[in-house]
């Protein structure tokens, strides 16, 4: 618990709260704003964001980045990782940071490879009536 000393700054020290309780409500407001933005984007779906960037639609990039931001504040402030020693922080975060992108890259690459094989391979995979 590190003696219940909470670090009360978020946004790299730009926003400093007076107490831990106040920080919790502040983070809630921030997370709510992000969720509202996500839902609004998901419902409106602006035309310009439907273009592709690196194989994924821009709007989906925004969703993924906002999700990671949300995950950061949940772990750092709700799960108190901000108050932990650097050693413990790294023990928790590094395995995930290394393994998940690795798995993600391999399986998504493989998935689109299989899609291409089935899409323009010589064999017919779909025995349609045509």
């Amino acid at each position: 618990m590190a003696g219940h000393n909470h670090k009360l700054e978020i946004f790299r020290g730009r926003l400093k709260f007076k107490s831990n309780v106040q920080k919790i409500w502040g983070v809630l407001v921030f997370l709510s704003i992000i969720t509202i933005v996500e839902v609004a984007l998901g419902i409106i779906k602006p035309e310009i964001l439907l273009n592709y960037f690196l194989g994924i639609k821009l709007i989906n990039w925004i969703f993924i980045i906002l999700t990671i931001v949300k995950a950061y504040y949940i772990t750092w402030d709700f799960m108190h990782v901000r108050d932990e020693k650097p050693f413990l922080k790294n023990t928790i975060v590094l395995p995930l940071l290394i393994l998940i992108p690795f798995l993600l890259f391999i399986l998504l690459y493989e998935g689109s490879y299989i899609f291409n094989i089935m899409f323009d391979g010589l064999k017919a995979w779909n025995f349609d009536i045509y």
């Binding site: 997370l31 839902v39 999700t67 772990t75 928790i92 998940i100």
Partner: protein, 326 residues
């Protein structure tokens, strides 16, 4: 030879010395290890969902069209509002949990109990909402037809340019075909529950109304489902094999069977986590009321279940993104 027998040491667990590299309670550390491994399990599930989606990138169901229900708003198209509400409920219960942990640091028993209770209520609302979501998903709305190659065809009215449920145009005929159960007949086999509307009725209705056509699973360049012309639709419909209403693990009216499989599995696994979280929270809540932690002098247990509860919230944030938004 002798020296080894002489230097017997007492079995003590490692204290870490004075450096305290992690400076965290044993139980909390173990909770973190569990969370890391569970996070990898969930990322395995979500990544395999991504794999299947990339494999069927040109025909995956559109989540906005599947999850359109909101309580007390019947027949109104409300994509995502309900899941957004569920997300808020879970984030809010996460906040009450962290407030309980904070009250625990101040050894304030009544506040811990109060916030734990709020957390439990939030968790229960979330699990209930998920059950409702499942009910709608399983029941289905429009219904569809499966053809010989396993493709799902949904119906579309060209005049009104909107989707049309099968029970609106199907020609109703009186018939007394009953579901075959395993207690009748020679061998102990049963069949799937019969749909309320038979394929013949759908076919007759489809042939009678020339404004009807079908939507394919396949997506066009803009990510919309392809709508066939009436002539093409008639050719497709000639190989129809069965009526599909709702969803199960084998087929669903929304499109690819894998979509429903992953939906059931991932949200089910997450829902089970929420459920067990609620149960654990209730146990800790009772202990708080009994004064167990007050006697112990610290509320570390509340902090540990708090970590688990936040983790459940964290997973939902990702499930929400990859199942409903992306």
């Amino acid at each position: 030879m002798q020296a080894s027998t002489l230097t017997k040491t007492k079995h003590n667990s490692w204290g870490g010395g004075g450096a305290k590299p992690l400076d965290a309670a044993y139980g909390k550390l173990m909770m973190w290890f569990f969370i890391v491994s569970d996070a990898l399990t969930f990322s395995g599930f979500l990544v395999s969902y991504g794999f299947s989606r990339f494999k069927n990138i040109d025909s995956w169901p559109i989540a906005d069209e599947v999850f359109t229900h909101f309580p007390f708003l019947h027949g109104i198209d409300a994509p995502m509002y309900y899941v957004a509400l569920m997300t808020f409920v879970l984030i809010f219960s996460s906040v009450t949990m962290v407030l309980a942990v904070d009250a625990g640091h101040n050894n304030d028993k009544n506040r811990v109990a109060f916030y734990m209770l709020l957390t439990i209520i939030g968790g229960a609302i979330f699990v209930g909402s998920q059950a409702w979501e499942w009910k709608n998903f399983i029941k289905g709305e429009y219904g569809a037809v499966e053809i010989q190659n396993g493709e799902i065809l949904q119906f579309y009215n060209l005049e009104e340019s909107k989707r049309i449920p099968i029970d609106e145009f199907a020609y109703s005929s009186q018939q007394d075909r009953v579901t075959h159960d395993d207690n009748v007949g020679i061998w102990y086999e049963s069949e799937y529950k019969l749909p309320e509307i038979t394929l013949d009725e759908v076919m007759t209705g489809f042939n009678n109304d020339l404004a009807l056509t079908v939507r394919l699973e396949a997506l066009d360049d803009r990510g919309q489902k392809i709508i066939l012309s009436r002539e093409e639709a008639e050719i497709k419909m000639s190989s129809a094999t069965r009526v599909v209403k709702g969803a199960n693990l084998i087929r669903n009216e929304y499109g690819n069977p894998l979509f429903a499989d992953f939906f059931f599995f991932i949200t089910g696994f997450h829902g089970f986590h929420v459920f067990s979280g609620v149960v654990i929270n209730i146990i800790i809540f009772i202990n708080v009321l009994l004064g167990t932690y007050e006697k112990r002098g610290h509320y570390d247990m509340v902090e540990k279940v708090g970590l688990y509860w936040h983790f459940v919230d964290l997973v939902w944030v990702f499930v929400f993104t990859f199942f409903y938004l992306v």
